[in-house]
């Protein structure tokens, strides 16, 4: 019996085609992350594709935050963290000996869970980084462009000199996104970007992500499954494995197109997690 497969395009932008036609931006091979002697993430093999939104979901402690922080070497900030295996960014080993973490972070930006604008003016929040990164030419235009891309320009254009701390939570988060975009990265990582925000701000950020996808590769960590379902093209489910010695580590259980993960996942553990019926 022949199965008829139909994929309905409702997003307007064109549902991203199956990933094989895309270039891989990150390639992880047998990646393990340790905190001291404790194995936090075990044997991750994953390709993250260009200009798609990839969501990482899973229960608490499954290592999703740890994983995303390996992508821009924020794990360096934890002195006990170490890695084995390979993590390549466009073919270069991210954690190799000659690689400068500062350079890595210029190309791979990050937006955090709780909005963390600098206690400077709105303008300076975006401009400060630019000045330091040596992008001083046409500063005003760059700031405006970044704020427009973050869908914040209209709301703040008349008060660029005001303190950023006076903005609402949703606006602050968009300012942090503008700040990250201004540095012209290739990838933007989001660590639970909307968990501190109300539903309306969350929707605004999600719409923004759809726009950003045109130019940037996005990776988001979220504990909100519905958000992953709404926003992501590809979804990776990290599960918790308990070793014989009762230690817990995160493993990549399933990685596929979001549609498949939420309508017909291959792994029982994925099904259990997304339906919420087996913890």
């Amino acid at each position: 019996m022949e199965a008829i497969r139909t994929r309905i395009d409702v997003s307007g932008h064109g549902r991203s085609p199956v990933a094989e036609t895309r270039e891989a931006v990150f390639e992880a091979r047998d990646l393990c992350v340790f905190y001291g002697d404790q194995l936090a993430i075990d044997n991750v093999n994953i390709d993250i594709y260009q200009r798609l939104i990839t969501a990482i979901i899973g229960p608490s402690g499954c290592g999703k935050s740890t994983f995303i922080r390996t992508l821009n070497r924020m794990t360096d900030l934890v002195s006990s963290a170490s890695l084995t295996g390979q993590l390549r960014y466009r073919g270069i080993d991210l954690h190799g000996p000659k690689v400068d973490a500062v350079e890595v972070r210029r190309r791979i930006g990050m937006v955090f869970q709780k909005p963390n604008p600098f206690p400077k003016s709105i303008y300076d929040n975006v401009a400060w980084g630019l000045r330091i990164l040596g992008m001083r030419k046409d500063l005003d235009q760059r700031v405006e462009k970044a704020l427009r891309s973050a869908a914040l320009w209209d709301e703040v254009k008349d008060r660029l000199g005001d303190s950023a701390l006076g903005l609402s939570g949703g606006q602050q988060q968009r300012l942090c996104i503008a700040r990250a975009i201004a540095a012209e990265p290739e990838v933007i990582l989001f660590d639970e970007p909307a968990s501190a925000l109300d539903p309306i701000s969350t929707s605004a950020i999600e719409d923004l992500m759809h726009e950003l996808k045109r130019d940037y590769t996005l990776v988001i960590v979220t504990h909100n499954m519905q958000q992953a379902a709404r926003v992501a093209d590809m979804t990776a489910f990290f599960g918790l494995e308990v070793a014989p010695d009762e230690s817990r580590r995160g493993v990549l259980v399933e990685y596929d197109e979001t549609e498949k993960i939420f309508t017909n996942p291959s792994d029982k553990r994925t099904e259990g997690y997304v339906t919420g019926r087996f913890g």
Binding site: M1, A3, I261, F262, T263, N264, E271, V274, T275, R277
Partner: protein, 227 residues
């Protein structure tokens, strides 16, 4: 976890299977009324349809509520959709039974042909078999016999064609011809009931496998090559 949600899903499925049993009784009653030319039974059947409609409506209303409140995904989502569609198919089957009952009443005083009635009885029993198989497989999440329903549909097609041949040879007697026409409609109803039973089987396949597959039915007489 999500106990309430799990219970709701079970209740919906239970209600659906109950409805299935009622529909099976309706088919049997329709066939009996036709075979015995029993007008009272025909009327009872029309009233009985209300029982079926009650369950149909409960499920119809329960599904959007469940979708909105519990946001089912993956297997649960497919189950809810399967229940939705099977519910519709059962309701259509029940409607066809009512139609058969009405046709029975309309053809009450007309001359009857035993051979034709036998053919219709056989078609009806096949339908009941298909419905029972379809619902059992659904409940057991069993897709080991995907061709079974399609195979069962074939005798119904054959019986239908035999009926056509028989009626074409009926000749010019008007009351006889009127009866034949009404019986063709009954045959048409039974054929459609068979198609709905096949559709129920398709739902089970989607539920278990996660992919839509269209089995052959009346609109696609040529079987597609097996995978």
């Amino acid at each position: 976890m999500r106990e309430l949600y799990g219970t709701e899903l079970e209740q919906l499925e239970g209600l659906l299977l109950e409805e299935g049993q009622l529909v099976d009784r309706a088919i049997r009653s329709a066939l009996n009324a036709l075979a015995r030319d029993d007008l009272e039974l025909a009327d009872e059947l029309v009233a009985f349809d209300d029982e079926i409609d009650r369950r149909y409506l409960t499920i119809e209303q329960g599904i959007p509520s469940l979708l909105a409140r519990q946001t089912p995904v993956a297997g649960d989502l497919r189950l809810v959709l399967a229940i939705l569609y099977i519910n519709l198919h059962l309701e259509r089957i029940a409607d066809y039974c009512v139609t058969i009952a009405k046709l029975t009443k309309l053809s009450h005083d007309l001359p009857r042909d035993a051979a034709a009635l036998e053919a219709l009885e056989e078609m009806g029993e096949r339908c009941r078999e298909m419905l029972a198989t379809g619902l059992e497989d659904f409940h057991a999440r069993d897709v080991r016999h995907p061709r079974a329903l399609v195979d069962m549909d074939r005798p119904i097609d054959r019986a239908n064609r035999k009926l056509v041949d028989r009626f074409v040879a009926f000749g010019t007697d008007e009351p006889q011809r009127e009866w034949a026409m009404r019986m063709m409609l009954v045959s048409r109803c039974l054929e459609r009931i068979g198609d709905h039973a096949v559709d129920i089987g398709e739902q089970t396949s989607y539920l278990v496998r996660g992919e839509f597959e269209e089995f052959t039915d009346a609109s696609h007489p040529t079987p597609r090559p097996a995978e």
